[in-house]
Subunit: 209 residues, 2 copies
């Protein structure tokens, strides 16, 4: 993505945003970048402050710890994907179309915004127990959306699924994992990878392509 | 798995094993358990020593750092999967059968030995740059095996694959991810999960089931 471009756009279109919100956006943006490059554990609050052009003390005013920053990034990332999935479902006519659109949307975001997606998905062990639990609830909602589609398609006779939970785990795993392996310099465009995954998901439930 | 049971069996059937090898086995076993429970970053050398019933100084005699222990565990885990995959290929008659057997073997080990598999696959950022590079070479071999099968099946006309790299990434991702979500108390038996994944892999390449 351009995590920073997104932030800048958001700020530009919200002229009423306060100075505190602006600082908070800059911090979250700097943390996302630092976690993506060095990993959560190797990143220090000082690294984040310096990337945001702030003093370490300023970090503590807005977020007590780097864990709070990770939580803010992870929550926003999961809520964004849930919104994408709901929009995809609303825009498709039938169950196979909905599954196809949901996986397309997930993979599109996980490849386009792969740097953020890596932090959102692969640094979860940096979260406190309470925050981890909150994030797991969002992840359960993501699985819930896919499972409901698999059950609906099976009931209608458009899908053949041996085990809804296992199939849903596998489909979501392959969609998220695109963020890990995707290399913008050498891989096909995100749209092509997203279509490919959507087609594989339909094949996994034996739906006509 | 029972990582510890495996170790004990190995030791018992190799009476010539030296005291140093025995200590090394105990240390690797204790580290595997500690990394699995607390994560690599949160585990201290003292935790490992204490779990192995040794003094922290004894750890340094056999492995300079906990990173060395992680590397030993990760390397052994990857080599084990490669051996499983090669045995699966050797035991199957045709390309669809080989793909099915390879995915079955991968998922069987990633569910049966899920605790070890989580350390092997999800703690890679604890490795030094050189060790990480060694492990990435083993991971490339795993992908290489799947890609060669996809190419062979496509050439023979038994598979329909749009993009060998993307399809192979997705198949391997879903196989490895079984270690993350598998819960022995509530999930079907590893053999059933392995069969289910093998069938999904065949569907993903549009092979007749």
């Amino acid at each position: 993505m351009a995590a920073s471009e997104t932030e800048v756009t958001t700020v530009a279109t919200q002229p009423a945003e306060s100075g505190a919100d602006l600082t908070r956006s800059r911090l979250i943006d700097a943390a996302r970048k630092a976690f993506g490059e060095k990993g959560f554990h190797a990143t220090t609050t000082r690294d984040i402050a310096s990337a945001a052009g702030l003093s370490p003390a300023a970090v503590y005013v807005h977020h007590r710890t780097k864990e709070d920053l990770l939580y803010a990034i992870s929550r926003a990332g999961h809520e964004e994907i849930l919104a994408d999935m709901r929009a995809a479902i609303a825009g498709a006519a039938d169950t196979p179309g909905k599954l196809e659109a949901v996986i397309y949307a997930m993979v599109l975001r996980h490849t386009r915004e792969y740097a953020t997606a890596r932090v959102v998905n692969y640094e979860l062990d940096g979260l406190s127990a309470q925050h981890r639990e909150d994030i797991e609830k969002l992840r359960a909602q993501i699985q819930g959306i896919v499972r409901r589609l698999l059950r609906a398609g099976t009931a209608e006779g458009s899908f053949t699924v041996d085990d809804v939970r296992i199939t849903s785990n596998a489909i979501v795993a392959m969609a998220i994992d695109a963020a890990r392996w995707y290399r913008p310099a050498t891989d096909p465009a995100p749209e092509r990878i997203a279509s490919h995954h959507a087609r594989m998901a339909l094949r996994m439930v034996s739906a006509a392509e």
